[in-house]
Structure formats: structure tokens, C-alpha cells
């Protein structure tokens, strides 16, 4: 948002646009990033339901989870922690997998170490 002079600021410091915090990019806080892994997404929308930052992108009409809003995602990792596919993969592997294991459905990767 461009800084404004006192003549341009609405009276009483009112915020005229509801929900304009979308312009504020909390994604810059992130130390970890959610990344899609090998296990196929079942589009259960659990991650959408539990994301504190509304950062799970979905195609609601076609009922598909499509990715992550990295402009706002703070990298908390809740999506990976509650992902039922991740749980299945971990169970099948019979061991505790690292958060960035490529076999997972949602992986949590350190910001500086994103492959791509």
C-alpha cells in the first residue's frame, strides 16, 4: 500500500475497504514452506478447514485443492500435520518420516532449500 498524506486519509482513520489486509503479505515471515509431495491429494479439504491464514487455494466449483497462497502462508505446518494422506503414508512406512520427506502429500520444506 502506498503511504498517504494527511489530506488523503479518510476522516477518523477509517478503513474503507473491508478485508484489505490481503494487501499485507505475511508470507515474508515464513521460515518453512508447504510443498506438494508424491502422494496424491484426495481433495478432502481438511487443510483448507484448518489453515489459520486462509492460504489453501481451492477450486471450489470443481472441488479440488489447487495449491498454497504463498503471499500469506506463514509456514506453520498445520496443513501437513492434519493431512490424512500424510498420516496414511507415515503409517505405511512404519516409521516417523521427516517433515520434508518426498513421499508425503504435503511436505514442509525449509525456505532456502526448496528444490524447483
Amino acid at each position: 500500500m502506498e503511504p498517504k498524506g494527511w489530506k488523503e486519509i479518510p476522516i477518523a482513520g477509517m478503513i474503507l475497504e473491508a478485508g484489505n489486509s490481503v494487501e499485507y503479505r505475511t508470507g515474508s515471515w515464513r521460515a518453512f514452506r508447504p510443498v506438494r509431495g508424491e502422494a496424491e491429494c484426495i481433495h478432502c479439504f481438511q487443510c483448507w478447514l484448518f489453515c489459520p491464514d486462509s492460504s489453501i487455494l481451492v477450486d471450489a466449483e470443481n472441488e479440488k485443492m489447487t495449491g498454497f497462497d504463498l503471499e500469506h502462508c506463514k509456514g506453520c505446518g498445520i496443513c501437513a500435520a492434519i493431512c490424512p494422506v500424510n498420516e496414511k503414508v507415515i503409517k505405511a512406512a512404519g516409521e516417523d518420516l521427516a517433515r520434508d520427506d518426498p513421499r508425503l502429500c504435503i511436505r514442509i520444506v525449509e525456505e532456502g532449500k526448496v528444490e524447483e
Partner: protein, 311 residues
């Protein structure tokens, strides 16, 4: 017809809380707000007590609210909601605005509800205003730096009940606000947790449709105050439910009902050991405090079962 409580159906609706708010990564409060506001299809007006949620969603010149929202002071979220509700009904009666089935919801943390806002809340529900008060209880004044509140669990270390040689964390047991609100004999009182999202959404719907004042107490983990990893938010709120530290129930017109019974009751120790605020309890000289907390939880659980007719 109300939207079915299926995530894919709910995702078709607009998110009423915009991203870009400055709540910490992994905070439970915005999850609770999103779940409750998604569950309600009608137009809503929100009032907010001072606290993390208020501060972090309204940092000038930004607002995260896509619905009418009002902050007044720390203690009077409930009175503000009651005033807005009364004004709305008056304007409708006078024919100045149309009846649109507006729902009034007040949000407050445990500090703004259990301690500072309790007289305003008690008065507003006693006057019978038709609104829902939601307390997101993270068990301390997290916004100002983790000071103890009357919701802080026994034994927890906070900056004003620090664990040291003289004092092993908070020395008092927490206040049972949900029961206090049930004692007001209002049409609907419930306790919920975001991990049981469908239960929480059903309760929110019942609450706004109860025809009078409603109160919901929702457990919110705070990773800064509870000292846990950011991704464990949902898991730890569920563990609080499974250890019966935070039972899920509702009181509808005086009838108590358990809405979730853990398949297997877990000892509270399992929940405590996952959080840094209880770390000192595991020293040999403090172990008896865990037993005391467990005994308190057992006693409250037994009396809840009796009230719900499940004993």
C-alpha cells in the same frame, strides 16, 4: 437451506476473515473464527474484546474483516454487542431498516471474558439479548506477553506465575466459566474445540438459532504461551479433549449433554508433557502437582458425567 457441514460445500462460500492478519503462525484463534463464521450462513455483525484477535486483525490501515466489525474496549465486547443488537431491533421495529436475520457475535479471549469482561457478559446475557458470545480460551493474557488469567491451568508457567524454586507455576485451579454461564439459565451454552470442527460448527448454528443469549467457550492453543511447535495446534487441542481437560458438551435450555466422549480417556500427563509451560512439573519434586491436576480433572469429569446423565 443451510449449507451442509461438508468442507467442499463450505469452501464455496466467501471467507469472512481475510488473510494478511498478523496473528502468529499456527494460532488457533483465526481457525476458530473461520470455522464459526463459515458455519453461519446469515449476515453477521462482530464485536471484539481487546486481545490478540482484535489487535492483529485491525492494524491500521488494514482490516481483515469482510463483515461489520467493532472494537470498543477490553471489558465490554458483550455490552457492545447488546447495544448493537438492541439498536438493530429498534430500527427494524421503526421500519427504518429491513429485517435481514442479522446474527450478532462477540469474540473475546479468556482475559477479556473470564476476568475483565465477565460483568459485561453476565449483564448482557441476563438482559436476554439475542447474540452469541464466543470466548477463545488460550489460558493466559497472550497478547501482552503470557500473564496468568483465571483460565490458566493449575501448574502452568506464565510470566506472572513463573516456575522457579519458590513457586512451581500457577497455584490455583482454573475457573469453570462454561458452568458459570450455564448457571445464567440462558437458552444455549457450549464448550467446543477447533479439532472437532463439525461439532464446533453445529454448536455455532444452534447458538445463533437458540432465540436468546448464547455462550460458547472454545479451546484455543497458543504456541507462544503453551510452548509447542506451530504445527501441533490441532493435535494438542484434540489431546486436551481426549484427556478430559476440555470436555465437549452443551447445555440446551438447562439440559446438559455430552457431545463427544473420548474413545479412550488419556492421562493428562500426555497433554502436559507436550507443552513447555508444564515442563517443570516433570521434575521429581513437582510430580505430585500432576497428580493433583489429574485428581481435579477426574472430579470435574465425574460431575459433568452426572450432569449429562452418563455417570
Amino acid at each position: 437451506m443451510a449449507t451442509k457441514l461438508i468442507p467442499k460445500e463450505l469452501a464455496k462460500k466467501e471467507d469472512r476473515l481475510a488473510p494478511g492478519h498478523r496473528m502468529c503462525a499456527g494460532c488457533a484463534a483465526p481457525i476458530i473464527v473461520r470455522q464459526i463464521l463459515t458455519a453461519i450462513d446469515d449476515p453477521v455483525v462482530i464485536t471484539n474484546a481487546t486481545g490478540c484477535l482484535e489487535v492483529a486483525t485491525s492494524i491500521y490501515p488494514y482490516s481483515s474483516w469482510r463483515v461489520p466489525w467493532m472494537h470498543n474496549a477490553f471489558e465490554n465486547s458483550a455490552s457492545t454487542a447488546s447495544g448493537v443488537e438492541a439498536a438493530y431491533r429498534s430500527l427494524v421495529r421503526q421500519g427504518k431498516i429491513e429485517e435481514r436475520n442479522v446474527r450478532f457475535i462477540a469474540f473475546g479471549g479468556d482475559g477479556g471474558t473470564y476476568d475483565i469482561g465477565i460483568q459485561a457478559l453476565s449483564g448482557a446475557v441476563e438482559r436476554g439479548h439475542q447474540f452469541l458470545y464466543v470466548c477463545y480460551d488460550n489460558g493466559a493474557y497472550m497478547n501482552t506477553g503470557i500473564q496468568r488469567s483465571s483460565a490458566t491451568p493449575f501448574g502452568a508457567a506464565t510470566t506472572t506465575s513463573p516456575a522457579g524454586k519458590a513457586v512451581p507455576g500457577k497455584q490455583q485451579f482454573r475457573k469453570d466459566l462454561t458452568a458459570i454461564m450455564a448457571a445464567h439459565n440462558i437458552p444455549y451454552v457450549a464448550q467446543g474445540a477447533p479439532s472437532q470442527w463439525r461439532d464446533l460448527m453445529q454448536k455455532a448454528r444452534k447458538a445463533v438459532n437458540c432465540g436468546g443469549a448464547a455462550f460458547m467457550n472454545v479451546l484455543a492453543s497458543c504456541n507462544r504461551g503453551w510452548r509447542h511447535k506451530t504445527e501441533e495446534t490441532i493435535e494438542l487441542t484434540q489431546l486436551a479433549v481426549d484427556t478430559c481437560y476440555w470436555p465437549l458438551y452443551e447445555v440446551e435450555n438447562g439440559a446438559w449433554r455430552l457431545t463427544y466422549r473420548p474413545k479412550e480417556r488419556r492421562p493428562v500427563e500426555e497433554w502436559l508433557k507436550r507443552q513447555g509451560r508444564f515442563r517443570h512439573l516433570f521434575r521429581p519434586e513437582n510430580r505430585h502437582l500432576i497428580d493433583e491436576l489429574q485428581a481435579d480433572i477426574d472430579r470435574r469429569w465425574e460431575s459433568l458425567l452426572k450432569l449429562c446423565g452418563e455417570a
